[in-house]
Point group: C2
Chain length 89, copies 2
């Protein structure tokens, strides 16, 4: 069972089901700081995005959703914390 | 004018022309260290891959090639240094 994606994230409903968000940064230093924070959050939560793609001014994050509502709530919380981290840069 | 890609890199000859390589890691810590080294090298050389995509055990790097042989030699040197960095992890 799936949850809707967190606000601002888009859902890809083909298999594997994923949530996606593009974050944009006006300075490369902020982008790097965001990636470092993301790594620390992944370490803390033991949740890892399926793919992270970045260039000079953007980070695209794809999170593969899970089978259970409980797991997806954790992923939604993870996604919301990424939003908060991006706002703090 | 373009150079051939460095050994181990594949060339995409459609536009924009790019060089691509997938690096694989048996530990997430090594992958993170590689990304940090890559960031330091980009800072030093002021050369930036067009896209870096990573998951838990791989880093895909796409480098857009330049118009001149001189610039492409610099990019080839950058690519070779990434190879060296990945071997040191």
């Amino acid at each position: 069972m799936n949850l809707d994606p967190p606000h601002g994230w888009t859902q890809n409903t083909s298999e594997p089901k994923t949530w996606f968000k593009r974050f944009e940064f006006d300075e490369y230093g902020k982008l790097r700081a965001f990636l470092d924070s993301l790594a620390a959050l992944a370490e803390e939560t033991q949740l890892h995005p399926d793919n992270i793609g970045f260039g000079r001014d953007y980070v695209n994050i794809t999170i593969e959703t899970a089978e259970t509502t409980e797991e997806n709530k954790k992923l939604a919380d993870f996604a919301r914390r990424l939003d908060e981290l991006s706002k703090g840069m």
